[in-house]
Every structure is written in structure tokens, then in C-alpha cells.
Point group: C2
Amino acid sequence: MSYFDAASAAPLHPVARQALLASLDEGWADPARLYREGRRARMLLDAAREAAAEAVGCRPDELVFTSSGTRAVHSGIAGALAGRRRTGRHLIVSSVEHSSVLHSAETHEAGGGTVSRVEVDRGGAVSAETYTRALRPDTALVCLQSANHEVGTEQPVAEVADRCRAAGVPLLVDAAQSLGWGPVDGPWSLLTGSAHKWGGPSGVGLLVVRKGVRFAPQGALDERESGRAAGFENIPAVVAAAASLRALRAEAAAEAARLRELTERIRARVAAVVPDVEVVGDPRRRLPGIVTFSCLYVDGEALLHELDREGFSVSSGSSCTSSTLTPSHVLRAMGVLSEGNVRVSLPFGAAEEDVERFLAVLPGAVAGVREKLGASAPVADVRGDELVVDALGKRCPIPVIELAKVIGDVPVGGTVRVLSDDEAARLDIPAWCEMRGQEYVGEEPADHGFAYVVRRVS
Amino acid sequence: MSYFDAASAAPLHPVARQALLASLDEGWADPARLYREGRRARMLLDAAREAAAEAVGCRPDELVFTSSGTRAVHSGIAGALAGRRRTGRHLIVSSVEHSSVLHSAETHEAGGGTVSRVEVDRGGAVSAETYTRALRPDTALVCLQSANHEVGTEQPVAEVADRCRAAGVPLLVDAAQSLGWGPVDGPWSLLTGSAHKWGGPSGVGLLVVRKGVRFAPQGALDERESGRAAGFENIPAVVAAAASLRALRAEAAAEAARLRELTERIRARVAAVVPDVEVVGDPRRRLPGIVTFSCLYVDGEALLHELDREGFSVSSGSSCTSSTLTPSHVLRAMGVLSEGNVRVSLPFGAAEEDVERFLAVLPGAVAGVREKLGASAPVADVRGDELVVDALGKRCPIPVIELAKVIGDVPVGGTVRVLSDDEAARLDIPAWCEMRGQEYVGEEPADHGFAYVVRRVS
């Protein structure tokens, strides 16, 4: 098996495993207690906090451990917003943040706050200038990920931090995807991370709040973790998380170079060996281990299943794989193709031969899925000077497949009207036009769903 | 070392350790993913949920895993209150609940809700009748622990549940201390637990919400754990927690009888071999492993330190040991002595010879602490027909020690007035009177602190 989904969760690092085992015997007691077992637990917790703080680049008393990265984000955003409530209730996020940030933003809106969701370019990046143009006198908090979890694009965090600092507004950085690779530059105010992304165990996140940042923890709390993360400390896991972060950092520079070469190879080779593919994400400013691409005329779930059978574990932002039936919000915000989407995120130590085997297997897997899907003929009508394709009730990627089949049937200058009630069509039909050099005219409400109109240009 | 603080945290059960190790390799991936590692993780999670639900006595889809018992309580109370907001915003808790319940109640009050805190008897128990007399038309939720964490007293949960059911109000049971021993009887609506109390790892709590109970999860959420516990699932820990609960239950009946005999022995022997001691908590309706007593004229921290040196890890509800400088809210609510308080909570498998050694060591440890504290003479003045003791600036247990020293200096019928600014005096001076058969007249505000007036009766 080749596990290529490290951006979801990394397998436990051997150092983390060792640290976890050792501290199961030493770190189970209540660190608030004064007896021997409690003092031992306290020492382990303090040492883990120091190690994690050193890796993050903060003071130990600025860092608390939470029960997950998601919890760190939820608590960090809620606490920072409440701490600045007098200034206002405006929050800035990018449209490609992790769902934990977007859920926090929705909760903030439901409670009467306002949220600006800043757009990204086609590579998935925000511009520091555009981002900080959203600042208002009542802005309480700005959130920005260090790098995107679906396409690997790095954000201009240091520049945004500088601008936020100048404006006197705190910046919270969701560093979940990048913290294993190195600290986050710039004068950020709050930072969150998630241990199982860097080879630590599940159940550990971290929340850093710089001294001087106004912060009012929300919800019921207790005295643990400076009153910022309630509940009995999970010390064995925290110790393992800190050990793993330190171990990864020691190898980070060399491993980054190695993985970057491998993902570069995937980027180039996928584009060369798979027809009708779009490699997405910023080609240069990106994490070392993540590469994402989308394949026209492919059902994402079927492709994942095919790859799983071949021994590859990858994920997808296609609507056709998730239970929600909507395409990834990241791909949608980028305006890129979502159908047949595949994210490859290589774990530390991923073997070159596994990558080569993946590249060898992929073209056949894509072709196989396309063959199965492409069999039936589209239902098409000529109405006046345009061709109408009725794809109602058909799911991604069928509407795009049918569009592609009939486009040659209209003369250059003529139009195809695709009727579809599939959410993914809104994203994938324009993306197809962009890829094939056809003109996307726009969408119109129809009796059922929408009509997506495309003009044949070539 | 003899660890006698299982009510704080139990060491990892060997079965939990084994299950944790096994699932570190099998359960680290995202259970929402469709590839092999994800499916394996999902199977482990499902199996753990089924095992835990069986032990609790609920349906698997009624149970979610949280990141701690505290989190389960916070989320459970907030969600149940929000779910019944139309009915009203009145919450009933007992005055001896775990701090996580009381913190939730404070948060509810801060948000505009109302809270009734029902008193307990001197043994720490509520009466089902008094408890449900607090029900009002706008009562949204009733909370009651299955058993108290400081004194071991069992609450009449089944009876309260019946009455709540009849009134159409949900009951949330905090079962943290009892779940290892058995399921909670009665038609409760919500239930919470904490794995590290039953030999599971830290980082796992459980929240059960019966079908049909109105529940509106609060705060930012995600799709995990039925939308009731956000953040990546900690599967290895969850598997270990469920395994440990099941293992404990298999031995529970026999072990309960064994530990009950040991704590009975402590209850009887402590009262016999330590002078001026009050054994607290209900003598019959109590958990098998917990016994708590308070020693007059003893500094709790000094006694814990002494016992730690002798190899015993116990905890205390005395003000003189905690960082808050206030005595335990449980002892206060019971109206019992808090000074020199010791809680012995035996873990599963606690050895009889360790208990015997504890009983052998205790009298000397108490006597040693008393000797060190009793050296200086109190500052006492005769004012009119009463003796005034100036204990201002002196901490527990000094005010009580000085009262005891001078009571013989006033004639029967005369009074002693103790000036004290120590919070514990308010609890401990009346408790001393009760123990020594003297009359507690009452307290009056003084220039500094309060004057506590005692009449010599015998």
C-alpha cells in the first residue's frame, strides 16, 4: 500500500510512538496534583510545551495544547473575536481556509458578526494587498492559512502579518499544513496547529496567543491550560506530538527538497501522460509534498476506487466522492475543474518507486473510468440556432462529458445549452471551457436546475 | 508507591494499553476516507462505539466520543439547554456537582439563563423529592452526578430520572465516577463519562443523547461524531477506552466487593486511630473505592506532603492545598470540616497490604503535622465577658487550632470570638463546634474579615 494522503493524517512517526509509549507509564496522572505521579506528569507536560514552543517560535506560556487542530481554530477565533469585541465584530478569512475556520466564521455570523471572505487567484493564493484592503475600522480579526490543505499553495502570510500589525489588527494563522516544515514567519498574533499532520498522534492541537493580544476564552472553561483549553490534559499524546514535531524539523530541509522533486515530477508527468487534465495550485509557492490535479470526464469516486484497488490512498475534492454532493470549496473558490479531482499528499519518507508506480498506473485508471462513463449517448435537441443537452438528474462528470460530445455538432459561433441540476456543473462547465478554449457565455435559471450556455469558438 | 487517587485519574488498564498499541497502527487514518486505511479506521471506531454503547446501555447512534469528560459535560449541557430554549432557560444542578457542570452553569447564567443550585445533606446526597421540587415550568434541563467525586456519595439518580421523566424535563447524568462500576439506572436523557476514570487513556470522554431528546449543539462544529464533537477522531484512544470499560465491567462486581471492604476498613479504623477526625460522605450509599475524612488542627498540604514522603498519593479538598485558597465546594456544601481533608480513592486492584500500611502510617503523619502547627500560643484578649482570638492573616487550620486552645479558658456559657480573614474558617469553625459539642452562635462582619462566635457548652 502507498499512503499518499498525508494532508489528511500522517501515520504516527516512530519517535512519536516511542515517546507515547514511554509517557503512558509516566504521564497519566493529574499534573495539578502535588504527589509524585502528578509532579512527573507536570514535568512531562512542561517539557513538551517548551519543545513545541521552540519549534513554533514562541514563549512556552503563549502556547496551550488543545484536543485537536479543529478545536484550536474554534477556540482561537472565538477567543480573539471576543477579546476585540469593543473594536468591532468584523472578521476576515480567505475563501480557501480549512472548514474549521469557515465553520467558525459561520458561527460568528449566526451570532450577529460580519465576515469578509476574500477571493483567491486561480492558483489558490490571496494577494497580501487585496487581503488587507478588506480591513475596516471594525475589523476584530484576520485569519489566513499558512498553506492550503487541498492544493498546497502557500499564502503570503508574513506580508499579511506585517500589514495587519501596521493596522493594529491581530492575524490568526492556521499553520496545520506547514508547521512540520518550519515556523511561520512574520509578526502574527495567533497560530494554530494539528499534531496528526506532522506525525504526532490524534487528539492534540496547539493554540498560540502572543503576549499582549486581547483574548477572551469563550464557553465553559476550567483552570487547565491557562483557562484556554478545558479538560484533563492528554499528556502522553502531547509528549508524543512535541517529540514528533522536533524529529520532523530535524529532517525537514532535506526531506522538503526530496519531496518537492517528487511532486514536481508528478506535476509534469501527469500533464504529459493523462489527456485532458488540469494540474491545479500554485506551481512555485507551494508545500513540498502536495500535488493536485483534476481529470475531465472522470468520476472522482470511481477513480479513487480504481487507485485504491491498485494500492494507492489519495483523496479528492470532487463532488462525486464526498457525501455532501458539492465540490470542494477550495476548488470552487479557485474556479478550477473539480471533476476527477485527485490530491496526492506524500508523507515524510514516501518512496520514489511508489511515486513512479503511481505515475505508471494513473493513465490506465483514468482511461478505464472514462471508458465506463462515456458509453451512453447524450440526449440532445436542436432548438432554433442552438443545441440543447438535457443532463438533468445526471451527476458530475456526466454533464461535462455530454457537453464535450456534442460541441462538435454545432458550427463555430453556435451555442450549446446544458441543462443540469448538479451543483458541480456550475464549476466544471466554465472550467472545461477554459481548458478547451471555448467561450463560457453564462448560466440562466431553467425550469429545473440551470442552463449553462457555451459558445463554440474553435 | 501506593497510588490512592483513582478518582482523579486511573493508571492505564493493561487491556487499554494493549488496545491502544494495536490501534496506533490501524486507527490513525481519517475514518471519513474511502481508502483502505480510512475504512480500517472507521471499522475500529464503529466497533468502539458499539462496545461503549453496550456498556452504557444505549444505542450506538446515541453515543459520541468527545475529547474529555469535561468537554462532554460542557457540550452536553450547552446543547441540551439550547435545544429546549423555547421551554425556558432554567437549569437545575446540585451544589456538589463536578466543576465542569458548575462552570457550565456559570456560563449559562452569564448568558442570561437562571440556575437553581440544590443543597445536599451532611452526607453529600440530594433528596429526589427536594431536587425535583426545584422544577419549574421554564426548566430546560436538570443535571445530577451519579456519584460524588470527592466523597463517593451516590445520588438517587434513578428516582430523580423518574420524576424528571414524569415532568417532561430531560435529566443529564454526569456518570464520570461510576461508569466503570456499571450502567446508570433510570430513564435519564443525557449522560457523560470520562475514560481516564475507568483506566482508559486521557483524551476520551463520551456524551450520550437519547433519541428524541431535543439537542442543539453549540459553537463551531463539523461533520464528525454526528456534529456533536468537532475535530479529527482520536481512534486509538477511543478503542482503548472502550476496551478498558469492557474489561473493568467484567471484574466490577467482585472488585467492588473487595474495595468496599477495604474502604469500610479505612472508615472504621481512621475514626478509631486518629483523634479529632471526621469521616465524611454517606456511609452506605457510596462508591466502592472512595473514602474521605478530615482531621482537625491539620494543614492539608503538610499532611499530603507527609503521606507522599511515605509513598502514598492521595488528594485533599482543604483550602490549604489548592492554589485557590478556598476549600472544596463539595465539603462546603455538605457543611463538614475541610481542614486536614484527605480523599483516598483506591484504583482497581489496590493491594490490601498497601491499605494496611496506609492505616499504620496515618496516625503518625497526622500527629507530626499537628505538633509542628500547635507550637505557638494564640493572641487572645478578654473583652467584657468574652475572649477574643485574633487570627487575622492566619490560614487554615490555625484559626481552629487557636479556638480549640482557648475554649477551656472561658467558663461554660461564655463565648469565644475568633477574628479571621481566612475563607476556610467560615466552614471549619461551625464544623469544629459540631464535632466538639460546642455551640456555634454565628458570624459577624469585623473591621477585617469576620468574627466567628462560639459559646462554650461543655
